[in-house]
Symmetry: C2
Subunit: 297 residues, 2 copies
Amino acid sequence: MTFDLAAYLRERRQLVDEALDVYLPPASQPPPRLHEAMRYSLFCGGKRLRPILALAGAEAVGGEPHHVLPLACAVECIHTFSLIHDDLPAIDDDDLRRGNPTNHVVYGEAMAILAGDALLALAFELIAECRLFLPADRVLDALTMVARASGTRGMVGGQVSDIECEGRDDLDEPTVASIHARKTGALLLASLLAGARLCGASVAQEAALREYGRQVGLAFQITDDILDLEGDAAKLGKPLGSDLKQDKATYPKVLGVPASRALARNASEAAVAALAGFHHQADPLRALAGYVVERES
Amino acid sequence: MTFDLAAYLRERRQLVDEALDVYLPPASQPPPRLHEAMRYSLFCGGKRLRPILALAGAEAVGGEPHHVLPLACAVECIHTFSLIHDDLPAIDDDDLRRGNPTNHVVYGEAMAILAGDALLALAFELIAECRLFLPADRVLDALTMVARASGTRGMVGGQVSDIECEGRDDLDEPTVASIHARKTGALLLASLLAGARLCGASVAQEAALREYGRQVGLAFQITDDILDLEGDAAKLGKPLGSDLKQDKATYPKVLGVPASRALARNASEAAVAALAGFHHQADPLRALAGYVVERES
């Protein structure tokens, strides 16, 4: 079996980018600067990992990826909203993201806050649009999964814990794992599971995908931590060592780089193992599990 | 007919407050400070006008108000999120709200941004909970209405236009009307209509409620503008003249106070007239149309 992941990612990114361009209000509509600011961060060279997980989750259970495109766009809107707000001076105070000035540097803090807010509201409007293709009950299931993953039990809660743990020297692995599981893992997992749920995943399929998603989320975040220390700044589009500078809770900080790298590889293998019950429809997910630990940005 | 509005408001506020306390994560759960910050602004003495409109909209079309309680709580979460973000130093930079220090003054800017974000995400989770009582299709309708009213075509878009119009001397009434309709009117209207839609409003009922909601929203906002100039600072819980200080787009600025007052009264009367086709179930809405122009805070 040879699965051409590069071609798959290219094709899926294009699909997502074209849909996002349709779903986002045009910069020609008022208020133009708000729409410009939303589009600036959304079309800033993201990997589109969350949308691709949503589409691949649908595919893995025999669904039609096009039917979950609004969900795929929604989770990218939520991811982008979180990046815009995290970069704000009051939070992580980052000036550079993916090689470009961050949203508030270009549009000012007020607009960055409001552009993030608007992306979050738009996300839920988009998920509701899946009703055009799929049963309303499943749409509400998917929407609830994504909302929970975004709020205090998920992304926002993880970000708060992350801020509260800055500079602490007594962190252990469970604490780092809990922060990462909420800050990054929850939305990755919800993207995958919501895509599968929309397309009628069985209980057994969902349990397997949940295990896959947990492991891939872990592998992804450990790799992020390592790249921030040892990556290529040009490929990452930002200076190295920003976690160190802010003394963030990271895997290398509590385990060192070699043990962190081994943990990421194990998680990636465990993710693939969780898919044993799936046929070739899960090949994209299998390939993605390798990609998240081998990527350079 | 005598309708005891004071008793009605008291009873409805208590209902909403009790439900909000159940729906909001407790401050004992991690991350405690995030949940504290969310609760601080949510239980800060609001009028609960949006939830009450949601409940009254349900009631007007013969629905059971308890069935739309999650929606009612959701629109209050969205209103509170918008107040927290609007008060931030980067936006309106207000230190006082309803007689208390604003969220970022108590919890810091980072937490205020994230508490607002979490309230917005929670709101959509709550609306989805209406499925316990009502058909999924109507829940998605209501959710879409509220999401649109919150985003770029509604509240957030209105706030951006409001900021962009600060200090301008060439404002006319249509511009002020457009800002207010989006910044304040959209969520008021969506609260009412979503409540009615959830309970199976007919097309004719919805058209009448839409007209009522537009007029009440207008009356409410003009009254807000006037109170900021001529109200009682102690009752308002904030110093007078903050709109003047920031040279905001207001009705008194373009029309003067007497003409603004007359416009508010006309809008309130037009709101009541729009309800001609409704029986006594719409009495709360009729009474509310008077309340929004006569209130002192």
